[in-house]
């Protein structure tokens, strides 16, 4: 074969590909049909998001919404890269612990004018979640999409096997620890609880239950080394010390949630966002139930939620604003609720969400938990200081360093990050 005959088809193929790649972007005129992209991370919510996009286009035939799905950890690195490169999705999910650098870097679309114009009633959204995203600059970057609180998922079959009573509202830390111990059966390879190093679904809750704080009220220094906060962390290290939980290394090879689905751990503390995944797993659906978090000095759970935000660099700001209001609005809330994917932030869709998973009888605990919920600590560049947890707290979980020493060192590291962004 000569070089020419080899190259010709190659060039054609490449040309076709190039054409295919660039055909996605719509025109920039406001009246003509436009396509906007919606960046989300992969999971059980994708079908609901697709449905919301379709419903939006039905109302706004000129605007097509294309879902752009990313695996979770990569979602953030690619979002940052693409925002810096000018190719971020037009609309995307945001977390309170991540928003700071984007807002400070003017990467987010201010939608306050659209919210005013459309007379969106902000009272319909949980104030705690709205506050989490407030950057104190008088702008509004998005609206809450969902809200989460934490509770204890448990496996009834493992409780029955061990002859232990199911957890009840009002149970205490001591009850929890005792229950975890009783449920642990090394011979069968099952543990009472998973005690991973998890802030939102884990030790932040117990820090607040112990009357402690992660960050001091002034937002400038860490409070994670206070005696109360240390007590909250000891709640988890004790479970590790009791060997009531797989070690962190085991949980690193197989995530806690997977272990719970595999029936290897009896209790898993986490959010409402796992409900649908557990419900969809036929092998475990009938065995799963949920109870409120145990009470320490007081009752508490951290709360947060995803917000829908827009990219400041979008070519279609008006279309994006329209979509953001829709995606966090009542109709979208009902679509989300009906799918069971997540508890919508917009008030009034709770019943629909619970009815989506009729065999889970006690989902109400997540809604009741709102009453004693505490906003997720997200001061400063939260993603950065939260990212340091593994480095400083792993030795405490492993029992190699005392909680007091580990938290003292971690507090210093947090202080440094907070000072940098001060």
């Amino acid at each position: 074969m000569t070089r020419k005959t080899l190259l010709a088809p190659a060039i054609v193929a490449v040309a076709a590909l190039l054409a295919g790649c660039s055909s996605g972007s719509g025109s920039s005129e406001s009246d003509g049909p436009v396509t906007i992209t919606y960046g989300i991370w992969a999971g059980t919510q994708t079908p609901a998001m697709q449905e919301i996009a379709t419903a939006f286009t039905a109302e706004n035939p000129n605007i097509t919404v294309k879902i752009q799905e990313r695996p979770y950890p990569e979602f953030w690195s690619t979002l940052q890269t693409s925002a810096a490169g000018g190719t971020a999705p037009d609309a995307f999910w945001m977390l309170a612990q991540q928003i700071r650098p984007y807002a400070a870097g003017n990467q987010l679309l201010d939608i306050s004018d659209a919210v005013k114009e459309q007379q969106v009633d902000l009272a319909k959204y949980p104030k705690a979640v709205l506050d989490l995203y407030d950057q104190g600059d008088g702008k509004l970057y998005g609206l809450p999409k969902d809200v989460d609180t934490n509770a204890v998922w448990f496996n009834k079959a493992l409780f029955d096997k061990a002859g232990v009573a199911y957890p009840k509202a009002g149970w205490t830390w001591a009850d929890f620890r005792e229950t975890a111990k009783k449920l642990t059966d090394p011979a069968a390879g099952t543990w009472g609880v998973a005690a991973p190093l998890d802030y939102q679904g884990g030790y932040y809750n117990s820090i607040f239950q112990a009357g402690g704080k992660v960050i001091a009220d002034d937002g400038k220094t860490a409070a994670i080394d206070s005696p109360e906060a240390q007590a909250g962390i000891r709640f988890w290290t004790d479970l590790q010390a009791d060997k009531s939980s797989p070690t962190l290394q085991q949980l690193s090879d197989t995530e806690a949630e997977t272990m719970f689905e595999q029936g290897k751990v009896a209790m898993y503390v986490s959010g409402a966002y796992w409900a649908l995944k557990l419900y969809d797993n036929q092998a475990i659906r009938a065995k799963v139930d949920v109870a409120p978090l145990p009470t320490g000095v007081k009752q508490a759970t951290v709360t947060s939620g995803i917000e829908n935000v827009g990219y400041a660099g979008t070519k279609h700001p008006e279309a994006v604003k329209k979509f953001l209001l829709f995606a966090s609005g009542e109709k979208a809330a009902n679509i989300q609720a009906k799918s069971g994917a997540v508890l919508p932030a917009y008030q009034g869709a709770e019943k629909t969400w619970m009815n989506a998973m009729p065999e889970f009888k006690n989902l109400q605990v997540f809604i009741d938990a709102k009453a004693y919920s505490v906003p997720l600590p997200v001061q400063g560049n939260a993603a950065e200081w939260q990212g340091l947890q593994a480095k400083y707290l792993t030795p405490a979980w492993d029992g190699k360093v005392s909680v007091a020493d580990a938290t003292a060192q971690y507090a210093d590291a947090i202080d440094k990050v907070l000072a940098e962004n001060g």
Binding site: V14, L18, Q68, P71, E74, G85, G86, T87, A88
Partner: protein, 274 residues
């Protein structure tokens, strides 16, 4: 070496044991891809799938735009290989056979580039692609790889070893420099061109870091990035992960089986250096 036949079986035993160690991971990958995730997590592990299922493959094809990613991988490979071979052959020829002021200095510059780790270029290359508005496009994946000091170096080696006579004959026939290069010398360099093409294909197909960075929005993500993402999404769903790994690996393995000779020649001539 016929006199050595007697001890051959001992060598074979060692080689077979070693080769088995090379192949076991692939065998395990294939077997696992047909199991259920519960079977994978059971102890002791089963060798053959108790209830063979294609569930892993189904999940993989459901969740991954395999064809699109394959086309991106293949398209950027073609672009990169064609460009690299062309650019490197031209420059390699000039450095090997032509006399011009500054030749040694310029070639030394090329060689210096070989030493520098590729990470050093990433930040700047990203800025360039961003500036050109090429992020998330196929050319962005391929362009930096087209210009490789290594390719030029390799082609120079090939042209150096060629006899002078052909060139002189062509010149006597009145052919200019470029014509001599194109119709006389380049065809003779075909083995090295093939070797370079094969090596470049290998780097292009396997590359993770650059596409991870330069295709953030994901319209132009090749297989390695897609596969890495699969792990982020299905962390411990090993049947799906193994099915994906298998499918993404297969195309190049098939090409390798067909073009073994070129692969080995490419490596032997040059070693692996991107």
């Amino acid at each position: 070496m016929t006199s050595r036949g007697a001890g051959q079986w001992r060598i074979h035993v060692v080689l077979i044991v070693a080769a088995t160690l090379m192949v076991v991971p692939f065998g395990w990958e294939i077997l696992t891809s047909f199991k259920t995730s519960n079977e994978v997590a059971s102890l002791p592990p089963t060798l053959f799938p108790a209830e063979p299922t294609a569930g892993g493959f189904r999940t993989f094809f459901d969740k991954t735009p395999f064809l699109a990613q394959f086309l991106v991988s293949a398209g950027s490979l073609i672009l990169r290989v064609a460009g690299q071979v062309f650019v490197a052959a031209l420059a390699g020829y000039a450095f090997a056979r032509l006399n011009f002021p500054g030749r040694r200095t310029l070639f030394a510059c090329f060689l210096l580039m070989l030493m520098v780790p590729s990470q050093l270029f990433l930040l700047g290359q990203f800025d360039i692609m961003k500036g050109l508005g090429l992020l998330d496009t196929l050319p962005a994946l391929a362009i930096p790889g087209i210009f490789s000091a290594f390719g030029t170096f390799l082609m120079r080696q090939a042209f150096l070893t060629m006899p002078k006579e052909y060139e002189e004959a062509a010149r006597l026939d009145g052919a200019g420099t470029f014509r001599t290069f194109w119709s006389v010398m380049l065809p003779m360099a075909r083995p090295m061109l093939a070797a370079l093409a094969v090596l470049t294909s290998l780097y292009s197909w396997n590359d993770l870091l650059w596409p991870l960075i330069v295709a953030p929005a994901g319209d132009a993500r090749p297989l390695p990035v897609g596969l890495a993402g699969l792990q982020g999404q299905f962390g411990t769903d090993y049947p799906t992960l193994m099915a994906g790994a298998l499918i993404c690996t297969l195309p190049l393995v098939v090409v390798f089986i067909v073009l073994q000779r070129q692969f080995f020649a490419g490596i032997a001539n040059s070693g692996l250096k991107g």
